[in-house]
């Protein structure tokens, strides 16, 4: 039953998006269910946008920006780190596993790293989805899903 998970990847134009492009040129394979949204900078990401992605049906959300110290806009990626951390907490509050959202730092030249990251993240989300469907099959007590059925929550990021 394992459908391909829907993954949104918010990528900054100057680094991660360029790396994704490069991965393509280098014919580095990564799962097709990773849908890239190009932003001028990960500093554009706000918490509402991240939660909205999940509300709209995303199984996982990646935020991919420049390496620390290399942001084209100097500190945009650092702001993104904080916002992703907060969004993870808000997700956990609602019972959504915060591991479904994560921040990555990928330089423009790192095509293979982008492909690898996208692949590993997809596997992570597939794993989380599988756990839920396994627990749902075993669960005879009722429809209510609680966070106990998911992997243990990350404490603080």
């Amino acid at each position: 039953m394992n459908k391909d998970p829907i993954i949104i990847a918010f990528c900054c134009h100057y680094c991660a998006f360029t790396a994704a492009d490069l991965a393509g040129t280098m014919r580095q394979q990564y799962p097709t269910n990773v849908r890239i949204v190009r932003l001028p900078c990960t500093g554009k990401v706000d918490i509402g946008m991240l939660l909205h992605a999940f509300v709209s049906g995303a199984d996982g959300v990646m935020v991919a920006g420049c390496e620390e110290g290399s942001c084209h806009f100097l500190t945009g990626n650092l702001r993104a780190v904080k916002r992703v951390a907060k969004a993870k907490k808000l997700l956990a509050e609602t019972g959504v596993n915060p591991e479904r959202l994560d921040m990555f730092h990928i330089a423009a030249s790192q095509g293979p790293l982008f492909a690898q990251t996208a692949t590993e993240f997809t596997e992570r989300i597939k794993g989380l989805n599988m756990e839920i469907s396994e627990n749902a099959d075993q669960d005879v007590s009722g429809p209510e899903k609680t966070s106990q059925n998911c992997k243990p929550m990350e404490k603080n990021t």
Binding site: L51, E93, K145
Partner: protein
């Protein structure tokens, strides 16, 4: 402005899940400035409710709407009133004033507060708000060179400092709290008014504060 913080999601959701449809109502003034209950926060809370409902298998529909202020009747316009009437419950993201005002204007509505309202304060830097006024009803800031001892001294001393002032910090929180009396003394010294502090200030009239009962101010010349 009034500074507040959003309540933990669980607390809000435990009320919300009793209903089938809710309106998350934001406020465009103070709580927007302190980033607790404005349009952006309405979007975030609405998303959280939808995700939470999905996780718990609850059936809740959510609409979000923000008005300029929830403490003046003119902003509860027809569009807003219609939304309030069409849902089962309202989650107001205004400060405690707005929540109550909404209840008073719409007595048939169920209105939950989404925020814990704390103090009157100012923006120190983006993301940091600090308390500056206690609303004591009898402002004596001038006597202290522009610094309010009622608000900024942990013990509201009018004849401070106490023995807990250390290196300009207050013993209650030596890392983050300045000793108000150190600030006052430095300021009065700078203004050349240090001698004024040698007078024993008499006890405060707390009856002008909330201690005297909930307050109302009326301007007869402004009443229609």
């Amino acid at each position: 402005m009034i500074v507040a913080e959003r309540k933990p999601f669980e607390e809000i959701y435990n009320n919300v899940r009793k209903h089938k449809s809710i309106l998350v109502l934001g406020c465009g003034s103070c709580v927007t400035v302190c980033m607790a209950g404005g349009e952006e926060e309405v979007g975030i809370l609405s998303s959280q409710v939808e995700l939470g409902a999905r996780e718990k298998g609850d059936d809740i529909s959510v609409i979000g709407h923000t008005i300029k202020r929830q403490c003046d009747v003119e902003f509860f316009d027809d569009e807003t009133a219609k939304k309030i009437e069409q849902v089962d419950a309202v989650v107001s993201m205004a400060c405690g004033v707005g929540v109550q005002f909404c209840v008073e204007r719409f007595p048939d509505a169920i209105v939950y507060p989404a925020l814990n309202t704390s103090f009157y304060g100012a923006t120190m830097e983006q993301g940091v708000w600090a308390e500056r006024c206690a609303g004591c009803g009898e402002c004596v800031i001038e006597e202290f060179g522009g610094i309010c001892p009622i608000t900024r001294c942990s013990k509201s001393l009018l004849n401070g400092p106490c023995g807990g002032s250390d290196s300009g910090k207050c013993e209650v929180d030596p890392e983050n709290l300045d000793c108000a009396w150190q600030l006052i003394i430095d300021r009065m010294d700078k203004l050349g008014r240090l001698e004024e502090l040698e007078q024993v200030r008499p006890p405060k009239n707390w009856s002008k504060n909330r201690d005297g009962g909930p307050r109302t101010i009326t301007r007869e010349d402004k009443r229609l």
